[in-house]
Symmetry: C2
Subunit: 214 residues, 2 copies
């Protein structure tokens, strides 16, 4: 991935949190507000539905410059010609993912500890997701919260660009950047916002401001 | 797929039904008993575990002549260099699967109605799974049972080789063949058998005998 700026405000989807609105509508409002990357993460749907959502988002994002990343499913990413894939520690290993995805697409990896981050230094990934920064109701299968201190330690040892994820919102996004992450990843702070465009714009300006102070 | 004989006795796995035994042990006993094809179908595991199981089975089956088919996940099939993939009506569409898998691997498709079977005639698949023949506790998201009459009707309209699946065992396997299917697919009749080798051998001889009577 050429530009770590793409990580600045990284939206991860969850239809269940979209307050009944169409996923595509929430995502595109968020993109208008300043989201720089979108990950489709939908755990509760069939492969067919997942592909249909992916194709629909791919079409919506076309020409926006905002990459579409698919969570976990390399086959869905290949099938919809997504810009990349994001895997966790329980998903396919990075070397397998890179082989299937080819050299040019984005591969992201979640790290849940300093140990994971050190191991990721020898992996051919484009960025790491530091997860979870704070505890979050959005994802129930996560490791213990790493806190801002975890971001400091992990960004200090990692050779990869990084985003923090987990419990992030307007109130703590700036601190995540000041702690060393290149970007902030959110789910509910945008998906469940009454006005996703405004929520994204608010986060975006906080992230910009914090970046200037680093 | 060159030889429809590979469909004769098709084992679909489910670790939860293996009575605590290692999946690989049950599968290899079944292969010794006469299973001709194996599908790894494990819905309740992470992508990493699924791949590890697939690689392990691939290694066990190496040299046996018994193809390994992966359920639903084309990425896992590619990652473990499986012989093929099996998809249902809610999985990736067959044209997408064929494109990702290439022309030489096996692609199987579940059909749940005559309409599905007619549509499958224009799809580039190697076989169809007629599902479910009888109601089954193994799979809870299935369409209504098609019965032996369903097999007769579907095999009459289909241009593809076929296996029946759903509630099949020693007591009805022969009728499935007499109704027109090329093979019988089972889960619990082998996975939960006290002696999987003996269970497979029993089914195999019933299927042979019925094939001779057709």
């Amino acid at each position: 991935m050429t530009d770590p700026g793409l990580l600045r405000l990284y939206l991860v989807t969850d239809r269940n949190l979209a307050l009944g609105r169409r996923l595509e509508d929430v995502v595109m409002a968020a993109v208008r507000g300043g989201v720089t990357m979108v990950q489709l993460r939908e755990k509760e749907c069939t492969s067919r539905e997942f592909l249909e959502l992916a194709l629909s988002l791919k079409s919506c994002l076309s020409g926006s410059g905002v990459p579409l990343i698919i969570n976990d499913r390399v086959d869905i990413a290949l099938a919809c010609d997504a810009d990349g894939v994001h895997v966790g520690q329980s998903d396919l290993p990075c070397d397998v993912v890179r082989r299937l995805m080819g050299p040019d697409r984005i591969v992201g990896l979640s790290v849940e500890s300093i140990d994971d981050a050190v191991k990721a230094n020898s992996a051919d990934v484009d960025y790491i997701g530091i997860s979870p920064v704070f505890s979050t109701p959005t994802k129930t299968d996560t490791a213990p919260a790493l806190g801002l201190e975890g971001i400091r330690k992990i960004t200090a040892v990692s050779r990869h660009p990084s985003v923090g994820i987990g419990g992030l919102n307007c109130g703590n996004a700036g601190q995540v950047i000041l702690a060393g992450a290149d970007g902030v990843s959110v789910v509910s702070a945008i998906m469940s916002a009454p006005d996703p465009e405004k929520a994204a714009a608010g986060l975006s300006s906080i992230i910009f401001e914090a970046g200037g102070k680093r």
